[in-house]
C-alpha cells in the first residue's frame, strides 16, 4: 500500500496546506543558497580528487566534499559543542541554522530556556556517525582503552545524532527524529514532515538529510564496484548521469535542510514562500520482479510517481520539470523510462529533466535534502540547471534527448517533480508548485 501525504483528496478540508519557507545547504559545490545557486547555474562541479582515497587504495578516488567547513564552523558552533560533533552533525547543524535564519525565525540563546513546541525536525542520514566509530570507538575499544574514549561517543554514533544535535541547537519541542531510507532519506524526510504538518501535529518542521565525509562511509560502495573509477584524473567529469560512458556513481557528502510550514502560519508571519508541497508519495518495490536490495522494481517506481501526482491532484501534463534521482549508474536509462511510463507520455513530451548529482555526486542520506534545495531554488529563482557530463547520451535515451537539459536555461516553470530511489528498493516522490500570492 503506497503511503500518500493525504489519504483522500483534499476538498477544502481542515488539512493544512504545506509550504517551504526556508532552506539551508552545505554542498560539495557551495555553502549557502546564493553560492549553491551560482554553482548550479554555472555548472560548477563539487567533485574533487581526494588524496586520502588514493592512499587507501580505493578504486574511486574522487568525491564530493563540502569545502571550507572547518574554517566557518566556529562561526556557527561554540567550542564545547564542537567537541562532540563529527562531520555529518557539523554539516547538518550548519544547514539547519542557515535554514532557520532563512525562514526568519527568532533565535533564542539556550540560557533563555525557550522551547519552540510547534517546530520539530525530521533530518535523516544513510550511514551516520561511522567516522566516529571508525576513527575513535573501534581502535579505542580494540586496544582495551574504552575508559579513555571520553563522554561524547554516544551522541555522535547514535543513529539520531544529526537530528538530536539540531534539536538542541534550535530548541525544538515537537518531534525530533532521524529517518533513514538510504538514498531516498532526504526526500522521504520532507514528505513525512509535510504529513505531520498536514495532520496539524506541528506548525513547522525542518526536514532533509545529512551525510558525513569518511572513507569508512564510502568503502562499502567502492567494494561493490558501483563507484566511478575511470575519472580519477578528471574529477569534474566523473559524475555522468545519463551518459553512455558512465561507470558508476561518485560519492558525496553534505547536508540540505528545508523549513516546511503550514501555509496559514507562513502567511500570518509574512514569510517568504519558495513553493508549496503540493503532494507526495513514499513506497517500496518489495525487492520483487527485477527489484532487489540495490535495484528498483520499475512497477514500484511508477506507482510512487503516480501516487504523488494523485496526492497532488494534478495530471502529468502539469509537471513542467523533473529533477531525477539519476546517479550515474546503468539504472539511469531505466529511471527515465519509468518517468515516461508513469506519466504516460512519449519520450518527446516528458517534462524537462535534469540530474543534480552530475554536479554534487551522490550524497547518500543527504542527497534528497541537497537536491530538494536545488529543485526549489530553480523554481523560486527561475532557472533549470544543466545536467552536465551527458554530452554522450546513453543510446537508450536518444529519443529523450530534447527533454534533457544540458545547458542552464531561464525558466518560468511553476510545477516540479522530485524523486529519490534508494537501496532497499524504496521510493519517494514529491511535487512542488510555486504559490502565486504570498
Amino acid at each position: 500500500m503506497t503511503t500518500n501525504v493525504r489519504s483522500e483528496p483534499a476538498n477544502g478540508s481542515d488539512e493544512q496546506r504545506v509550504v517551504i519557507t526556508g532552506m539551508g545547504v552545505v554542498a560539495p559545490n557551495g555553502h549557502g543558497l546564493d553560492e549553491f545557486e551560482q554553482a548550479l547555474r554555472e555548472g560548477r562541479s563539487g567533485i574533487r580528487f581526494v588524496e586520502e582515497l588514493k592512499e587507501l587504495k580505493f578504486g574511486c578516488q574522487v568525491g564530493g566534499v563540502p569545502q571550507g567547513i572547518d574554517e566557518i564552523k566556529t562561526e556557527y558552533l561554540s567550542p564545547d559543542v564542537l567537541m562532540a560533533m563529527n562531520s555529518s552533525m557539523t554539516y547538518a547543524a550548519i544547514a539547519a541554522i542557515d535554514c532557520w535564519r532563512d525562514a526568519g525565525l527568532p533565535e533564542h540563546p539556550p540560557e533563555d530556556g525557550v522551547v519552540d513546541w510547534d517546530t520539530g525536525a525530521i533530518v535523516g542520514t544513510g550511514v551516520g556517525g561511522v567516522d566516529t566509530l571508525g576513527d575513535k570507538v573501534v581502535p579505542g575499544v580494540t586496544a582495551g582503552r574504552t575508559k579513555r574514549l571520553g563522554s561524547t561517543m554516544v551522541e555522535q554514533t547514535m543513529s539520531s545524532a544529526v537530528s538530536a544535535r539540531i534539536g538542541g541547537l534550535l530548541g525544538l519541542g515537537n518531534q525530533v527524529t532521524t529517518n533513514s531510507s538510504a538514498c531516498s532519506t532526504g526526500t522521504e524526510a520532507l514528505i513525512m514532515a509535510a504529513e505531520r504538518i498536514r495532520a496539524g501535529r506541528a506548525t513547522r518542521m525542518l526536514a532533509g538529510g545529512a551525510e558525513g565525509y569518511s572513507p569508512y562511509i564510502w568503502a562499502g560502495f567502492d567494494a561493490m564496484r558501483v563507484l566511478s573509477r575511470a575519472y580519477n584524473e578528471e574529477p569534474e567529469r566523473a559524475s555522468r548521469p545519463m551518459s553512455a560512458s558512465t561507470g558508476g556513481f561518485v560519492p558525496g557528502s553534505g547536508a540540505g535542510v528545508l523549513m516546511l510550514e503550514s501555509l496559514e502560519s507562513a502567511r500570518e508571519r509574512g514569510a517568504h514562500i519558495y513553493a508549496e508541497v503540493l503532494g507526495g508519495a513514499i513506497n517500496s518495490g518489495g525487492q520483487r520482479g527485477t527489484g532487489s536490495m540495490t535495484a528498483p522494481n520499475p512497477e514500484g517506481v511508477r506507482r510512487c510517481i503516480r501516487a504523488a501526482l494523485a496526492d497532488a491532484q494534478i495530471g502529468s501534463e502539469e509537471i513542467e520539470v523533473v529533477n531525477g534521482h539519476l546517479t550515474g549508474t546503468m539504472a539511469d536509462p531505466l529511471e527515465v523510462e519509468n518517468w515516461r511510463a508513469a506519466l504516460e507520455l512519449t519520450p518527446e513530451t516528458i517534462p524537462l529533466l535534469n540530474g543534480t548529482k552530475s554536479l554534487v555526486g551522490h550524497a547518500l542520506g543527504a542527497a534528497g535534502g541537497i537536491e530538494c534545495v536545488a529543485a526549489l531554488l530553480q523554481l523560486d529563482r527561475g532557472f533549470i540547471h544543466g545536467s552536465v557530463n551527458c554530452e554522450d547520451l546513453h543510446p537508450d535515451l536518444e529519443h529523450f534527448s530534447s527533454r534533457i537539459v544540458r545547458e542552464t536555461r531561464e525558466s518560468s516553470a511553476k510545477t516540479l517533480a522530485k524523486a529519490s530511489f534508494g537501496f532497499g528498493d524504496v521510493n519517494a516522490c514529491v511535487i512542488f508548485r510555486t504559490v502565486d500570492e504570498q
Binding site: 567550542p79 564545547d80 571520553g150 563522554s151
Partner: protein, 82 residues
C-alpha cells in the same frame, strides 16, 4: 609544581567546557565546577581525562567523584602526583 601552576592549568583545561564565562573570569579555588561554571555534567569525564593527560597521572572514579570545586581538583592532582 606549585599550587598556582596547577590551578592555572586546571582553569585552562576546564575553560572550554565552562558555559558561564563570567564565573570563569573571576574563578577562585572555591568556584564550583558544576554549579558556578555550569559545566555540563556529562563532560566531567572528559575533563578528568584531560587532567590525566596533562599531569601524567591516573585519577580513579572515586577520586574523580570527590572533585567539586577548582580547589578540590588542585588538591587531588597534587595528592596523586605526590
Amino acid at each position: 609544581m606549585t599550587r598556582k601552576e596547577v590551578f592555572d592549568e586546571v582553569l585552562n583545561i576546564i575553560g572550554p567546557f565552562a558555559v558561564n564565562k563570567e564565573a570563569l573570569e573571576g574563578a577562585t579555588e572555591q568556584t564550583n565546577i558544576l554549579t558556578d561554571l555550569k559545566v555540563n555534567s556529562a563532560r566531567l569525564v572528559d575533563i578528568i581525562l584531560d587532567f590525566e593527560d596533562k599531569f601524567e597521572i591516573e585519577i580513579d572514579d572515586d577520586a574523580a567523584d570527590e572533585i567539586q570545586t577548582l580547589g578540590d581538583a588542585v588538591d587531588k592532582i597534587l595528592e596523586i602526583k605526590g
